[in-house]
Symmetry: D2
Subunit: 408 residues, 4 copies
């Protein structure tokens, strides 16, 4: 055996399946995960927000923190921006390119906020009052300018629109307003830009959500045009829904645009990805990995983290999350697809399942350690981050502060 | 006051809202509800079936029993047929037109069964084996012949297809097989025929269902053509899903084709309609009643009951169900739509809600009693049925027997 | 007919069932509903709080507003206090008795807050650190003093304790800490005081809640002693749970202490009571009304509203809620219990169900109007409130302000 | 490195944690899992049962098949019997001891059936009719005799009792009947016998289940006495419920009596254990493994499989299930409890979680292979079973047949 027996054992196992470990490592090295600027700031629930020492409040701090995650993992070069929380003024916007460059990251998706201002009490794009809709549209158009200014080509919409009481508003009238408002924003997009349309089945509206499921998002995107695609947030489904099936369906329809990775046990809990059901997350990645190898499926998919891990430390939790995503992808790459296809063709349910289980049960940490080493990184990003002193520095320099954003 | 003070009070109230009680009565008199042949037969759960004396086993008996429901309610002239359970042989098929005529009913939707035979263990239209798919397609084509023979213009599909274990089969391969098989059936339909495509999010497949939600059914229908529409079964959604929102969306998209009315508390419980949440059922009818008055929404909607009320007597439970549906429609017709629109336009959530609540809280039984009297019916169909002696007759003549069908 | 034909019709119907309308009216007049001080203040979700003009911020204002609800409904004489939000200092506490008297109300339950302070990030009574537990216990003991000062004999606990991640803490260690801390508070209670122990199955902790269901609350109460009873909040159950069954069980065990009335569609949505499933609410009241007539069941039950109706106007929504509760109780009182018992004894499922449905379908608004008139109140409390000018006055005098409390 | 490098690597890792691999292996070797006789027979859903060639129909065949599972895994020496399905007559009962001995297994729990006969349409122990209750009690008393005859000391109750419609029966009356009937059975138990009381929150009753959750079972057991304990079936909870928390609570209360292992995605799907959320299953085993090391917690826990894996081959699916359970236990034994306790004490959520994740991510298959080898077994039980020829033999000798039991 070599000096890295665990890796060698894994390599031998993969070779026995006819899988190329070099190809697997290559795909792992080019994985690209976007972290959210708001994941570095304090967050909470309606019952309160627990502040962390060192939590970021300015966009410069958020980018610097995101830079740490990328520095230690090597696969998180992009940062999602939340226009309202990150850019209080024009100065902040001007500062972004330099701050991103300094942090070693670039800007990913631009996220409008059309839910927080008082006018949005009864909705934004779906509001019965044309003035409120105008405000939401104008903010979205402004976000297109922001995207241009920071060199982003993705605008990502989550609407909080919905109603709390039966009868409160007309479902159909709201649907028409939604289509009309988005059409105006869509028409203003530059040709290379992608519009992501998220859905969520409850909260903060509690009786109905205008974009409640993938079907609603797909209808809206089809209404708009080819640059609009569906975004799947893992925490936004009813209990019992099979998310990997939705992912496969959207892939087949050419309508999958991106993900918000996180996990939940019941509601939109915003727990760190894989924390509750890591097998489900692996099954989702299994669809994605398979689609990468299927020439008929050609989706540009943005992989984004969207978590408000309220009680874990911000940067360490983000590093843990990136590592969890890497592991799910690595396991999905270890699936013996030829054997899987053969078992399915034979109608052998147990054998087909066990192909997936075998890859899942594989401990891919030695593989990822080698990948990191080959990328010039520490094999244990979390430990390396803690050893770097960055956490102590921000805790002592920044301390506890009041920021902007969800629950803060 | 007149001799019918309760009705007079209601009439005065409606007049005060500017609603025409004559128009309301007219709409109630033309309501048309289809009852299912299998609702007159024994049914059960996987833990057993509790037999009823007098439960129907032949198609002639089922039609006769359905005729009773129509005779006492006046709004249930159509009967859904289940090809496998109702038509054991050609003779049975030949006998249907005369039996229906004798019972005073006509045949509504034709329901293929592609789930019960041993070949369908791993699916029907989605099965990996082309031979099994061929069997499913051929049965469906046969059902088109049946429809012709019994003068039906609706074929209604519920697929049990799905998988029980992660990895068992390819979501995307199954989707393609589904589209291909249905396209063949669709192509064989006569031009005036409607194809209904039901969805269900779990059971009897437990990991994934190929047609799991309205989005999947809509995609399939759009793939097929304008004669294919979505069927909404009230018991086939995940918990917390807003069904009336789905109904409104399908209406707006011109894709609503029909309903399976029933109710559930958790699973697909097949309880009698309105038994668990009658307000939700009213809210669904509110969308339907509003759509009838909206010239932009032109859907042909089939209203069907699909229940396996295992422990209630078959015919009385069906009469109760028809009455419950009538009441929901009647209440929806009592909604003051002008006031509702005004409250919504003013953004007055509470006032808008209370318009719906006011109609719901109205006791419409006096109105329905008058409608029935004007139709030459007994104002209390359930009591009249029990008084008719039919129940005793079938109990003594038919007794307990072994039939065909769900859980029997 | 008399000058009130709708009431006369109802009276005749009840008489035909052998029910005494005088007894029913008497029970409706002595109904006693507690409204929450926090229900008059701004509230919101983690995504933001929408401020209302005139929303109360001081305890004096909250009591004054609660006084309006009682003035117009006659059955809401008590107000729940939230110690942290209502009593910023000793002066506020001193002012309460006079303010309550001026408003025509009295103080009901005292609600400690052991979830909002930064120390409670990982729990309060269940926290691993004895210092934090001490703080929670001391606050609770202080609440007992508050109760004494405002002449309240109910302390009502809702714990936000729980964990967000598997492994975060030991379930069993937390259970022991919980029992120990509560025992200390319990021991300090005066003999006539009632301790209510609420449960909630998710939020703000997302992996596990220490008091997640009625079973956990019951175990804790039994551990403490006879003055501790279970509080049922209607929004705190998993989907599909049968709440009326829990209520009946707690009644039979002598362990039901009180309610938090509200409604939800999916999460703990805090919608106004009866807004989503009014039939379920009626079924709960049916158990309560039946228990009142059963001498073996002797529970002192506190009926409290706990809603954060974020987008409806505070006082009007509270009046609507009180009226909804009255209607549910009134319908439950119209149930023909003798006929129900006979149907059950005969094993006639449909007949038994229809006894409940018949009472539910009855329009009890004429009855409640008469009850109000006999109590010297306007028959339409909501309309009367709007006509009173109070809402305009507080909107113009108070305007939009920043308060304390949930999401504000 | 030795000739088994994967095992050596794991051994080194465990040693570094201060864990004794010999102790771990010892505990794995004494693991004892009971398989259900009905798991070797055909099963299905209400929509149909798909027959397998070779499925067992007689108790002798079931025991022989269970013997295979034990022969290849070494940890499944016990078989649960279902009185109604397994023992059609006295002869069958007489034959059991010899048949079990021949198969190399012994009888575990005795499972009465008080749900299948026509009399139980409205319940068994909770039925309003004393005659039906008498039948259920008598059958249960007979099951005690059966237990004696087959040398079993566990009787395990699952009740299907419940109602389908609001109002159908009195919750409280049913609770009293339940307590009374069980008290009679309990009183007849020999002193060393354990009574297990299962709960289930829905199906086959759809409105309410008399024993719907752990709280109801616990109340009944406490009412009966120390020989009655709660049985947790993993598929019998509402969505979002934290099962490991329930397990810990029951352990702490001394009320945990046993498990029915399986998995589900939405309903009581009876999928093979760990098929949907293996991490949840590991977390449950983590509580059990921790409790084994806690001298204050002294529960006798019966570990039983209860699955109706309809579409997987019976014996192979059972072997897979046993292996999955072994793996969960093995991973739970690899948890570094000292480090976990330290992280919890420090309030370090992430570190505590990662202790559990680390053990879960460990590939324990090499360890289990060594354990099996040391037990004289093939390291790959499933492969060895397929190689043994038993499956082909039963398929050709038994073929497709009609049996007794769930859905058959």
């Amino acid at each position: 055996m070599s000096s890295n027996p665990a890796y060698e054992l894994l390599a031998a196992k993969l070779a026995a399946k006819g899988l190329s470990i070099d190809e697997i490592k290559g795909r792992l090295k080019t994985q690209c995960i976007e972290t959210p600027s708001w994941g570095y700031a304090d967050s909470g629930t309606r019952f309160g927000s627990f502040k962390q020492p060192g939590a970021a409040i300015s966009i410069a701090e958020k980018l610097a923190d995101a830079g740490q995650v990328h520095q230690f993992t090597g696969v998180a070069p992009k940062v999602a921006m939340h226009v309202l929380w990150d850019l209080p003024d024009d100065d902040a916007l001007q500062s972004v390119p330099a701050a991103a460059a300094a942090a070693g990251v670039r800007i990913g998706s631009i996220n409008p906020n059309v839910f927080q201002d008082q006018e949005y009490k009864l909705g934004s794009f779906c509001h019965h009052d044309a003035e409120v809709r105008r405000k939401a549209i104008d903010h979205s158009l402004f976000c297109l300018d922001v995207a241009k200014a920071v060199d982003s080509d993705v605008i990502s919409f989550w609407l909080a629109d919905g109603t709390n009481y039966p009868g409160q508003d007309s479902f159909i009238a709201r649907k028409h307003r939604l289509q009309e408002g988005f059409a105006e924003v869509y028409a203003a997009m530059p040709p290379e830009m992608l519009m992501l349309v998220e859905y969520k089945f409850f909260e903060p509206a509690f009786y109905h959500t205008d974009l409640c499921d993938w079907g609603q998002s797909l209808l809206l995107c089809r209404h708009l045009g080819p640059q609009a695609k569906v975004l799947v947030d893992l925490g936004h489904h009813a209990q019992g829904v099979n998310i990997e099936h939705i992912v496969a369906t959207l892939l087949d329809e050419g309508m999958l645009g991106g993900f918000h990775f996180n996990n939940r046990k019941y509601g939109d809990d915003d727990l760190t990805c894989g924390a509750i059901n890591p097998y489900e997350f692996y099954l989702i990645y299994n669809e994605l990995a398979a689609a990468e190898e299927d020439s008929r499926l050609r989706c540009r998919v943005e992989y984004m983290i969207d978590q408000s891990h309220n009680i874990k430390l911000k940067i360490p939790a983000m590093i843990q999350t990136v590592m969890t995503i890497q592991a799910a992808y690595a396991k999905a790459l270890c699936v013996d697809r030829a054997e899987l296809a053969a078992a399915r063709e034979a109608g052998d349910t147990q054998a087909a399942e066990l192909v997936l289980v075998d890859a899942y049960d594989t401990d891919v940490r030695p593989l990822l350690a080698v990948v990191r080493a080959e990328m010039g990184l520490d094999p244990d990003p979390l430990k390396a981050y803690f050893a770097s002193g960055y956490q102590e520095t921000i805790e002592s320099e920044r301390g506890f502060r009041q920021g902007r954003g969800l629950g803060s």
